[in-house]
Symmetry: C2
Subunit: 142 residues, 2 copies
């Protein structure tokens, strides 16, 4: 039997490999250069090269030359990359709550002044989207 077709699997096909999301985290934090991304994530340079190439090919990052002499590049988020912010927020929230021990290494403050506690809601009604409040509406068979 063929595995289930699913956007989670598709998403993981793009950003699910080791180091991909950590490299993206660095870009979100403003670290856009190869050496610093390698140092801050701990990824080995050869694997990082492959990951960044894949993310560029997938349209998640853009490689931008910011200096011609000497040639220097930075990696910037595309719309697709920026949209991953939500995923990172929820992953961080889960890690904060269930994995990280002791003081949290990174805390975000929202523009309203509060420490961010992210929550997922239904855009239509504004109520929280819990697993109990959802039903499957459609599934292709093929």
């Amino acid at each position: 039997m063929a595995p289930r077709s699913c956007s989670i699997a598709n998403a993981l096909g793009v950003v699910g490999e080791r180091w991909s999301l950590l490299a993206l985290r660095e870009v979100f934090l403003g670290v856009t250069r190869f050496d610093q991304i390698a140092a801050n994530t701990g990824a080995s340079r050869d694997v990082l090269t492959v990951r960044l190439k894949k993310l560029v090919a997938a349209g998640v990052l853009e490689k931008h030359q910011y200096s011609e002499h000497p040639p220097r590049h930075e990696y910037l988020l595309t719309d697709s990359g920026r949209a991953l912010h939500n995923v990172m927020l929820m992953l961080k929230e889960w890690g904060d709550t269930y994995v990280t021990e002791g003081a949290l290494p990174l805390v975000w403050e929202h523009s309203c002044g509060a420490v961010l506690e992210p929550r997922v809601v239904c855009t239509a009604c504004g109520e929280e989207a819990t697993s109990e409040s959802l039903t499957r509406a459609a599934e292709l068979t093929h």
Copy 2:
């Protein structure tokens, strides 16, 4: 230099390996048994064995025996596992928008009646938590 300490990295240390999130997706969809998880994800049985053991050890899943003769088990979500629902929702949303082509393989309907369009908001004020609306509030140096 040591890599950045971060809950995203910690979270990925638990659920970041290949097949882990897909196995969890199956449990969320009600598929709790080894053979079916293997078939629906496409993971090879040996790797799946290791992944499930790790998820149980990490407190994300529980192995529950539902029949003594013959001995049969199912994998159930713990609180920690259920909390991953948000991550999966956002990952699916991103995949739907930027990766999956053609008709979406899976659509959720919220209890309000609308097709779910998940959004991340700040619990305190209810406004959307975009990357522009966040500032770093603290970071440990060590």
